[in-house]
Amino acid sequence: MSALPATTPFGDGTSKPQTPSLPRLLAGIPAEGAMTLEEHLAEHGAPPLQLGQGRRSDRDRAERLIDEIDAAGLLGRGGAAFPTATKMRAVARSRGRAIVLANAAEGEPASLKDRTLLEALPHLVLDGGMLAAQAVGADELVICVCESFGAGSQSLGEALQERAETADYAEFDRLARVRLTTVPGHYVAGQETALINHAGGGPAKPLFTPPMPFEQGLRRRPTLVNNAETLAHIALIARHGAAWFRQLGTPTQPGSALVTLSGPVAHPGVYEIEHGASLSSLIEAGGGTTAGLRGALIGGYSGAWIGAERLRGIALSNEYLAAHGAALGAGVVLLLSDEACPVAETARLARWLSGQSTRQCGPCVHGLDALATAIEQIAGGDGGGRAAQRVERLASLVLGRGACRHPDGTVNVLLSAVEAFPAEFADHGRRGPCDRCAGAQELPLPRRPLPPDPARRARVRLGAQR
């Protein structure tokens, strides 16, 4: 194996010349198993080394990586599309030694991208995590992996072993300690403060903020939480630079993205698209549809539905999707077949999302339950206009009133369903279940029970006695 150069400036040509074509992250992905370190280096070249070791010139280089990420316009891929460089700067400027958390909790049942990255391309995530750690001055990188990712954890362990045995990489990785931790598979476990809570030995439930993670996160240290895909993009931006990154995508949403395509298509799975690519080109890449479509859910279970009649011409960029009240979010593109009943699916989704509440905040516990009940009433036909009005009222009542944005995401996806399928909701409210209601369930709603946390109430009561 070739030795790594001691330092490699951004995109200086020591890496393989890159064309603006796809795939980027998925380039060279093996049909089975994980890409080895040797294959990874042959595909992407060596990462720039020795950032931020404390010497002045190194700190400048660390700053430059954040500047490069800023210039690239990289947005977070965990769902919120938050500018990555902004968050990195906030962490780098906070007092105390920072920690980086790689978020591969992937609580979205219809998403497979983070699992794919960890299973097949662990070195991309590790490179990105290491570079991010060096850029913000962290001495610890915690990879938070969903407990259901058996193979993902295994590839990651093997990848770490390979790196430890490769002299130059061992040098690169020495700058931060890497730790692997598994996260429970419920929906909210991947929320950033839930991740911090769990990595610190607590339950995987969100914490009240402030303090924000960037100021006081894990062990009260400044904590950078980034999605696994975000880190993988950092691995390539550090090698090829911002201008290269921007050769794909739109001005406001540059670069490529991993999307998980599911539903009635010939080849469901993870695809890499350019932001702004058409939905039809994605479906074509997926081998075309195998049934008529009723609609599509974009972004994930806090995303938005778009009815079939509006799917033609859809472009997968947030700028375009905003007009439809949608966003690419965690990259979920779930197609619903015309065999499914969108009202019954929405009622089941509402009940499931209510069940995913971590039951810490009253408005979330009661509000999501009441919302699910109202939608079930519409689906059952005993709602009429009353239940529909109650959905609207409950929606505005729970918005913004949780410690995390789970209630907001739930309201978003449920209201979007009512809007996308108005005739279906009106029909069910009037006439009750349709022929399709009892048909096959299409939305995946895994059973992932939340562990009980009996200690919490006791702690709160203790506080009351002070």
Partner: protein, 72 residues
């Protein structure tokens, strides 16, 4: 610099004291949890808000100074 009222929904147990002491800012929803008007507090309201916060049995009511809008 302005002050606002906020509730820590994890600590809140719907005792409802805040709505009694600060009715001009806080009402209760159908389950007894506070719905808060979080526009900046005017002059004397700050004192009332602080009193309501002190009365909360779980210390869930907060009177905050405006801070970085970096909240996500």
């Amino acid at each position: 610099m302005s002050h606002r009222v906020r509730v820590n929904p994890i600590a809140c147990e719907a005792h409802g004291m805040c709505a009694e002491l600060l009715p001009e800012r806080i009402t209760l929803d159908e389950w007894g949890y506070p719905v808060i008007d979080d526009t900046p507090l005017a002059g004397a309201e700050v004192e009332h808000a602080i009193r309501a916060a002190r009365a909360c049995p779980t210390f869930a009511l907060l009177v905050e100074r405006d801070r970085d809008p970096a909240r996500r």
